[in-house]
Amino acid sequence: MTSPEQVLFWVLGPLSVLSALGMVLARKAVHSALFLAFDMLCLAAFYAAEQAPFLAFVQVVVYTGAVMMLFLFVLMLVGVDASDSLIETLRGHRFAALSAGLGFAIVLCSALGGALGDQAVVGLETPQANGSDNVYGVAKLIFTRYLFAFEVTGALLITAALAAMVLAHRERTTPKVTQREMALARFRGNRPSPLPGPGVFARHNAVDTPALLPDGSPAPGSVPTSIAEDMRRDHPPLPASVMVEEGEL
């Protein structure tokens, strides 16, 4: 007999393991995040199957919704493109970590096997004595027995939010530059005109593609300096003859 729950478990279980492995093995952090999000959705399904509908929804809303979005925001701030090198720098570390992980899995599984065996399962199918369903029961527990913990958790969340603000806040050390000062600085410099927009006369309009000058050579000022540095590092510079110096423009 295969119950729907069994089908669900044997389909989503291997998938969740695979996506967990994918998260660990993916080179790009964005891919890891996507794998993790999928894993969390799988877990949400398991919660639903285990008579925890409230947790299932909270899992989707809080984890896949809020936490993972936060991860993605940070990833974008840090640089979506940044990919890990897969070469391990600590000698023997990867092997040791793998053996420890494997050993832990084996120890845990054997412990579970020894401890649980044929554990009688009470189950939560029968409605709780104190409520009609599990969501009702959870709510009742949270607001009665765990009320204090709940309030403290609320305080913790507020503290964490404040902490995040404090940590992310950057003190301004120089006075804010006004538009007038910026204009003056531009005219004092050697380029009063606006910088060329990216992609002008170019085949792409990506940020890192330099604009082409009328003679067909790339305009270095058309890309942000940091990206230009990356470009120069990644691609050897063009011959000097075709480069147009910024000052000549």
């Binding site: 967990a20 409230f54 909270v58």
Partner: protein, 99 residues
């Protein structure tokens, strides 16, 4: 089906998460692996709740989620600060406190 299968699954996920914490260098990915470990623990809590027929396990899982959310908020903020000063999110680059 016996809910113990979920426990084995949770054990495997936990181990994978811990190996990920150990081998990945990108701090954000390390954080994700920690989240996976927390999630697997939540799965065991939910499963035990079901085995025992009481809802307390689910309450614990709920609190774990809330605390994990707080942890992610602070942790990522710290990470941002570190990245801002060191231009790197690799945990190996923050190795000044040593012999």
């Amino acid at each position: 089906m016996s809910p113990t299968a979920y426990l084995y699954l949770a054990a495997i996920l936990f181990s994978i998460g811990s190996v990920g914490v150990l081998v990945r260098r990108n701090a954000i990915v390390v954080f994700m692996c920690v989240e996976l470990m927390l999630n697997s623990v939540n799965l065991t809590l939910v499963t035990f709740s079901r085995i025992n027929g009481t809802l307390d396990g689910q309450i614990y899982a709920f609190f774990v989620m809330v605390v994990a959310a707080a942890e992610v908020v602070v942790g990522l903020a710290i990470l941002m600060t570190v990245y801002r000063t060191r231009r790197s999110a690799s945990v190996d680059d923050a190795n000044l406190l040593k012999y």
